[in-house]
Amino acid sequence: MKKVSNITEVIKLLDENGIRSDGRRLDEMRKIKIEVGVLKNADGSAYIEMGNNKIIVGVYGPKEVRPKHLAIPYKSLIRCRYEMMPFSVSDRKSPSPSRREIELSKAIREALEPAIFTEEFPRTMIEIFIEVLEADGGTRTASINAASVALADAGIPLRDLVTAIAIGKIDGKLALDINGIEDQYGDGDMPIAMMPQLGYVTLFQADGIFTSEEIEKAFEMAKKAIWNIYEIQKKALKSKYLQIVKEVDINE
């Protein structure tokens, strides 16, 4: 439960020096931490902290499709379930899936599927389970960053990782990686996911109002940030691999 501030008080998202309420510059990202292989049952998994967002993702598959009649003869069926835990937000969320969660599950699935060689595993399914433990603006992009790492961790062949960031608009200016307050009181939100190496945008949404020029500028800001996150994703994957190598060393 959040304390409701005096509503007559104006929320100031940007100070006279162009510094945001959490101290960041407009083009500054929040801290990101990714851990790989955090779950034992899941075939692949990852945990991400992106600012205050805390999200865990598990991937199962490729596995048998149930019920069977949903199997697709020429590719793997991708399923994705994005869920916010009831305690992840200011006012407790009911545990049953909200319309927002259902829409985001589809958008995230369609952000990830372009990266998966689905045609290599016909008649199977790959399941992606995303649980938001704490939410603070940008959970869908953080989820995508963790999920593509979890897919890689599951050994599922990928064309590229999928990397995502949101561009927001606060006090009329574009701002990278907006947080919860900026999302709530700002003027717009534009999440973008890309396969950085291949140059494809696989998630692209917006609400709020953007001019044509702002969209182009937003792509520029996003691309830069996405390359940074991409490195963090790869490092996270590598560190798990290195750890395994070390364990093998020790055991020898």
Binding site: L198, G199, Y200, F204, I215
Partner: protein, 269 residues
């Protein structure tokens, strides 16, 4: 709709792809042409506003209902807007009865966000007793005959029903709202237009038909207001776009929106 992929024949699929290579479409349209548009408004009298939209063979209806309710605690001074869309089996053998699935929900949420972000409805004028009583505006959208591009048809129907809708004039008597005889237009600020562009291989096409949807790699919907600002974006489908494609699609959408805007019914009041 998970087995949509089985719905059209490989021959038809090939035909669509072959034609597209020559920048032609199976129904003779150019890549950036939309189908014939017809809009009928104020056709269902129990609704505060209503519209039937034909987009080629695709036919949809939208109805607006209003009732007096309580505002959300965090927005005490604005009305409530609810958009609901359901893919009923009347409109297609691919749709099933039952609670809305992810496709229904995505469609209604994109329409909802477009109306909201464009500030189409002057929401503040819907507050009757701030913090206590506001107009709640329900917009329900249904397909009657599905032949592709429900997104744009749904958006156009919702917008047309709102543009031509009416509310009872009210009088406030302490904490009670009295509805008067007279009706006034729903307060409108802006008018968003929804334009969906499909990508097949590396071609961008406007207003895809059902058969084209079956071979689309991905879709992008831009919502455009009368100042050519973008007030909503939604990418869907199992492939990606290059940034150049997205910018090209944006430019096409702005042009198409201006053309579609001419079909809009006259704003009331």
């Amino acid at each position: 709709m998970s087995d949509k992929y089985q719905v059209i024949s490989i021959l038809k699929k090939d035909a669509i792809l072959q034609l597209l290579k020559k920048n032609e479409r199976i129904d003779g349209r150019g890549l950036e042409d939309f189908r014939e548009i017809e809009i009928f408004t104020n056709i269902y009298n129990k609704a505060e506003g209503s519209a039937r939209v034909h987009l080629g063979d695709t036919k949809v209806v939208a109805g607006v209902k209003a009732s007096i309710g309580i505002p959300f605690p965090d927005t005490p001074n604005v009305g409530v807007q609810v958009v609901n869309a359901e893919l009923i089996p009347l409109a297609s053998p691919l749709f099933e009865a039952g609670p809305p699935g992810e496709e229904d929900i995505e469609l209604s949420r994109v329409v909802d966000r477009g109306i909201r972000s464009s500030e189409m409805i002057d929401n503040k004028k819907l507050a009757l007793i701030p913090g206590k009583k506001v107009w709640m505006i329900f917009i329900d959208i249904y397909p009657l005959d599905y032949h592709g591009n429900l997104m744009d048809a749904f958006g156009l129907a919702a917008v047309s029903a709102l543009l031509t809708g009416n509310l009872y004039e009210t009088e406030i008597n302490e904490d009670d709202i009295i509805l008067k005889e007279n009706k006034i237009p729903i307060p409108i600020n802006h008018v968003p237009i929804f334009v969906t562009i499909g990508k097949i291989q590396n071609k961008l096409i406007v207003d895809p038909t059902f058969e084209e949807e079956m071979v689309l790699d991905a879709k992008i919907t831009y919502t455009i207001d009368e100042n050519n600002n973008i007030c909503g974006i939604q990418k869907s489908g199992t492939a990606g776009f290059t940034i150049d494609e997205l910018i090209m699609a944006r430019d096409i959408a702005i042009e198409v929106a201006a053309k579609i805007r001419k079909y809009l019914p006259l704003k009331k009041g």
